[in-house]
């Protein structure tokens, strides 16, 4: 039997609910869960003040309601599954290392910052700083997968060192800024200044993009490894057409102000 949390009272100010996470709720009974501490602004309050708790968590949590103002869900998650039926607020899955979070709606900013493993799937759109480093840190996510079916904001995958970040729609400015390594795939269009300051890593987009002057065009070729990635995300339910699978890609190399070891691959229609 899985746990079901239904939001009965909409928070006036952001509700910080890092405690809503499979690892922290496994095995606890309804009363105990309802008594757990959440932060409503700067007030400490009980989870039950906002959520109806039903069932018991055996590695799976269903959450429903408008959670756009509920933050830190699934923080530090290591295993299990969380299914969020609606929209969700900032810092979803912060620091998670395993398990899966599925959001049927949209997600706020800062999806899965400092992630090291596991998977986050957002069926709608997501905000800025998806899969990124927190301010001041040199390194963002170290692994795991973030798959956004819709559009995402600025600084997608900023400073990431490993892992896979996918946007089914468009991405904002500074996609992959300062990335160390890893892979970002944007099936839609990217904003400006993609890959600024990147050291290594791959940014792949299915559309032409404005390249910074510190990126140079190396060649147009058919990278075999792209087939593996596209096949993989196709399995996750994203739309990849066969021409993209077998097609040619421009290879742009940069950022020359850094190591010049990164690449932006742009599908040539």
């Amino acid at each position: 039997m899985s746990l079901k949390l239904s939001l009965h009272t909409k928070p006036d100010v952001p509700l910080e609910a890092a405690v809503i996470c499979t690892d922290k709720l496994n095995g606890a009974n309804e009363t105990a869960i309802a008594a757990l501490t959440v932060f409503h602004g700067n007030d400490q309050t009980a989870l039950g003040e906002f959520f109806t708790v039903k069932g018991q968590c055996d590695g799976e949590i269903h959450i429903e309601g408008d959670l756009a103002n509920v933050k830190h869900l699934g923080s530090e998650m290591t295993s299990g599954k969380m299914i969020i039926e609606g929209d969700v607020g900032q810092h979803l899955g912060a620091g998670m290392s395993g398990g899966e979070i599925i959001v049927e709606g949209n997600a706020g900013n800062w999806v899965a910052p400092e992630m090291t493993g596991g998977r986050v799937i957002i069926k709608g759109n997501a905000g800025h700083m998806v899969g990124s480093a927190y301010r001041g840190d040199a390194v963002g996510i170290l692994g795991g997968e973030i798959i956004i079916h819709g559009n995402v904001g600025n600084e997608l995958g900023s400073a990431m060192r490993n892992g896979l970040v996918v946007a089914g729609g468009n991405s904002g400015d500074f996609t992959g800024v300062n990335m160390h390594a890893g892979t970002i795939i944007v099936l839609g269009e990217m904003g400006i200044r993609s890959g600024a300051g990147m050291k290594r890593g791959t940014i792949l987009s299915m559309h032409n993009a404005d390249m910074l002057p510190t990126f140079s065009h190396a060649c147009t070729y058919h990278p075999y490894f792209v087939r593996l990635y596209l096949a993989y995300i196709k399995e996750q339910g994203l739309t990849i057409d066969d021409a993209q699978l077998v097609g040619n890609y421009q290879r742009w190399v940069g950022d020359a102000i850094e190591l010049n070891r990164g690449e932006i691959l742009l599908y040539v229609n």
């Binding site: 490993n162 290594r200 990278p223 075999y224 490894f225 087939r227 593996l228 096949a231 993989y232 070891r261």
Partner: protein, 300 residues
């Protein structure tokens, strides 16, 4: 001793003595089936016997585009060596020299196992610092820049315990008849997944025994099956009216698949003019696996 027959062919009541080896599966893909095959043939060349070639290898089968990781036509190759260490070294040598060199190819691990050899992780140095590592799920890949683009190769290849040296012997009235039977047998055996026949077209005529009168040799001609020596050694196993013997050696990823291959081989080889079907062994003390022909046939 004969207790069993297929049609008119006698099945000698003996066993094939097979050895524990380490095996792996390599998937080579390329822009076309032909290029994948070219790399596979090159990679499985000079790999008939561990004694002389340090490994045994062969083509398992062709793969359709839908079956390969990068959705291109491919070939799967099995490679066997006496231990995991040696197998790793052979993989690096052979993928480096025969697959990386071949236009358009990519090379993937085809065997899930906890034991692995680092292959791409070695070959990457060919990239001279320009190689790129990628991680997708549990898979780690290396992209090595080459003159037609990139050579993509898995970091790890799975290695598992395997069975080498399964065999059947075909004893018949003349060379033509035995060759025909052997060809029929290899064709049938190649349909089995998980096995390869490491010798030329799957057939070996220079069967060997352990030891030699010459001290430096660890193996020598299997004189018991040489028709020319039928009356010379006093230990000949060549019946009268048998003038040619050929052997088919089978390496497989486990004992059951080797037995399967032997079974279909025996049935296909049992033709008019084939007096006996037998198997080679060393008395049973050297090999870990004893594949009795009677049991194999009864199991079907």
């Amino acid at each position: 001793m004969i207790t069993m027959k297929i049609k008119s062919t006698e099945i000698v009541d003996t066993f094939a003595e097979a050895f524990k080896m380490s095996g792996t599966r390599v998937i080579i893909t390329a822009a076309t089936k032909q290029w994948a095959m070219a790399a596979a043939q090159s990679m499985t060349g000079f790999a008939t016997s561990v004694i002389g070639c340090k490994c045994e290898a062969g083509i398992e089968r062709e793969l359709n585009a839908e079956e390969t990781p990068d959705m291109r036509p491919g070939v799967s190759v099995l490679l066997f060596a006496m231990d995991a260490d040696g197998l790793g070294k052979r993989l690096v040598e052979r993928i480096g020299q025969c697959v990386m060199t071949c236009p358009t190819t990519a090379c993937f691990n085809g065997l899930e196992s906890d034991t692995t050899a680092i292959v791409g992780g070695q070959l990457r140095y060919f990239g001279d610092g320009h190689q790129i590592g990628k991680v997708l799920g549990d898979q780690r890949l290396w992209r090595i820049p080459v003159m037609d683009g990139e050579f993509v190769v898995d970091e790890h290849f799975g290695i598992q315990d395997a069975v080498g040296g399964g065999n059947i012997l075909i004893l018949g009235k003349d060379q033509k008849t035995v060759l025909k039977a052997a060809t029929a047998a290899t064709k049938a055996m190649c349909e089995i997944d998980g096995v390869i026949l490491p010798f030329p077209a799957g057939v070996v005529r220079s069967g060997s025994k352990v030891g030699s009168k010459y001290k430096s040799l660890i193996a020598s001609s299997n004189d018991a099956y040489c028709p020319t020596l039928r009356t010379v050694t006093g230990k000949s196993l060549v019946p009268e009216d048998v003038n040619c013997v050929l052997e088919i050696v089978i390496d497989g990823l486990n004992e059951a698949t080797v037995a399967d291959a032997m079974r279909v081989g025996l049935h296909a080889a049992a033709k008019p003019g084939i007096k006996q079907l037998s198997a080679g062994n060393y008395g049973g003390n050297l090999g870990q696996y004893h594949l009795y022909l009677n049991k194999i046939l009864e199991a079907s």
